[in-house]
């Protein structure tokens, strides 16, 4: 069996602000994501879920610990190294419209990574149309601006952008939380299909525990920066060991 695509060891993030007490947002987190696997992270606001995602995608500097992608340490990658990282890891955020440059078309956004990889303008255009079609959007969306598309349409375009360079790992930070449930179901269906077709691993951060149960192979429960429980969704939801997890599951109406 192959090694993990993502390996996180003792990852810690402390936010320090002058005149205020330190906040330990992530405290000694250790976990792995295997190739093609979908790992969910559940927990309440402020539990550190997004901070973990931001450190993995190098949007935040870890305070301590290590992150390995496909065996290579990426904990403190900068510049060209970090750009190379984004050929393997891509991210989908909670707010689809804001994740695009408002002054550029969705097609520009989706095709940017291909352009950077040296593809010709004509080839980029063709590939963008194909990617949009894969994500269920007509080719004309390439010429639309973010404000000319709905939240669900923008999120489909954001997924098209993320899969353009065929990443080995897709990090989804509350990627469907801002969408209506019927749209959420369609986007989840799309992500499930892409995972199968591209054999892509997924780190799926979500506060909707029922959704994680449907979509993920394994799940971590975070509470106040710590991973307090882990297992398959059914193990964690049906027979939680920690008091906190029990309380969280009991709270779902």
């Amino acid at each position: 069996m192959d090694g993990p695509i993502l390996s996180v060891r003792n990852l810690t993030k402390i936010f320090s602000r002058r005149g205020q007490p330190d906040v330990t947002a992530v405290n000694d987190a250790t976990f792995e994501v295997r190739p093609g696997e979908c790992l969910g992270i559940i927990g309440e606001s402020g539990s550190g879920k997004s901070t973990v995602a931001h450190m993995i995608t190098r949007l935040l500097e870890p305070t301590a610990g290590q992150i390995f992608l496909d065996g290579e340490e990426i904990t403190r990658l900068r510049g060209a190294g970090r750009r190379r990282l984004y050929q393997k890891v891509q991210m989908v955020f909670q707010t689809p419209v804001e994740s695009f440059d408002p002054r550029r078309t969705l097609g520009d956004g989706v095709g940017e990574s291909l352009e950077n990889a040296g593809m010709s303008a004509a080839a980029v255009r063709e590939e963008v149309a194909r990617l949009l079609a894969v994500c269920g959007l007509p080719a004309e969306f390439a010429d639309r601006y973010p404000h000319q598309a709905s939240g669900g349409e923008c999120q489909r375009a954001a997924i098209a952008r993320a899969i353009a360079i065929r990443p080995a790992l897709l990090v989804c930070d509350e990627a469907t939380s801002a969408l209506d449930v019927t749209i959420q179901r369609d986007v989840i269906g799309l992500l499930a299909r892409l995972r199968r077709e591209l054999a892509m691993a997924c780190l799926f951060i979500c506060h909707d525990i029922a959704l994680v149960q449907d979509f993920c192979d394994r799940v971590l429960v975070m509470h106040r920066g710590r991973i307090v429980e882990r297992g398959t969704p059914d193990e964690v939801i049906r027979s939680p060991r920690e008091e906190y997890t029990k309380m969280l599951i009991d709270s779902v109406l």
Binding site: G151, T182, Q184, R185, M247, I249, S251, V252, L253
Partner: protein
């Protein structure tokens, strides 16, 4: 049971564009009515209209909205002030945003209390502490002395509900009151609203896209789509045996926890 709030063929438009079409339903006294639907379905518009909160662009263009038989549409400022807050109160998704950030909750609640006829600070304080205790706040005095930012989002929302209950309105309108909250806090807010009905007999309209919240709270549910009421009935019937294709699709799309 008495029909306390009644929508009678109501159309609501913003700048001439219809957001709600031909809404017909009643809220009975002491009842909890849920309004479900997706973004843009008109569910918030529906309850804002009863409070006169549609803004300059919004207008009820047909039909009527009546509170205890009296139309709410052509109220003078003075009449509106005797109804909003005192008879019909409203809470919003972002409770923290509906409080002034630089004044304590106590001073803001006193203002609302004074607006509806109370004048003594001592009487206000006794009344506020009584309501907060009844609603099972652990530390009523501390809450009244706090600034909004000193409270968590869930506590702000609970304080918002308590503030609304100071004048014991007959109707509480709740616009997505739990949508910004974590599940554990969401449950507390839902339980507080149920307690409000138990203690004060308040009728509640809750607008939410959260089907779990409706299941827990609502006696009856209305489902809206594109400004129209597509289905209405007992909560259990609507959620478990929906008749309309849209309601079926909506229920099928809701992820359900398999315990």
């Amino acid at each position: 049971m008495e029909e306390i709030l009644c929508y009678d063929g109501t159309d609501i438009c913003y700048n001439g564009v219809c957001a709600v079409h031909d809404a017909r339903f009643s809220l009975r006294s002491g009842e909890i009515l849920g309004i479900a639907g997706e973004s843009g379905s008109g569910k918030s518009t529906l309850i804002k209209a009863a409070m006169g909160l549609l803004g300059p662009a919004g207008l009820v263009t047909r039909g009527d909205i009546r509170y205890k038989g009296k139309s709410l549409l052509a109220l003078s400022r003075e009449e509106r002030r005797t109804i909003n807050g005192a008879e019909i109160a409203m809470i919003f998704q972002n409770a923290g945003g509906s409080f002034c950030p630089v004044r304590t909750l106590g001073s803001q609640l006193f203002e609302a209390y004074a607006e509806h006829g109370g004048s003594s600070r001592d009487a206000f304080f006794r009344r506020a502490v009584e309501v907060l205790r009844k609603l099972r706040f652990p530390d009523a005095e501390r809450i009244l002395g706090s600034y909004p930012f000193e409270l968590s989002g869930g506590m702000q929302q609970r304080a918002g509900i308590a503030a609304a209950m100071l004048s014991e309105p007959a109707v509480l309108l709740a616009d997505e009151p739990t949508s910004a909250l974590d599940v554990s806090v969401q449950k507390q807010v839902v339980e507080e609203m149920l307690l409000v009905r138990e203690l004060y007999g308040t009728a509640i309209v809750i607008v939410t896209h959260n089907i779990g919240v409706l299941r827990k709270m609502a006696d009856r549910v209305i489902v809206m789509k594109g400004g129209e009421i597509v289905e209405a009935g007992e909560t259990r019937t609507v959620l478990e045996q929906p008749r309309q294709a849209y309601t079926k699709a909506l229920m099928a799309a809701v992820p359900k926890l398999k315990r």
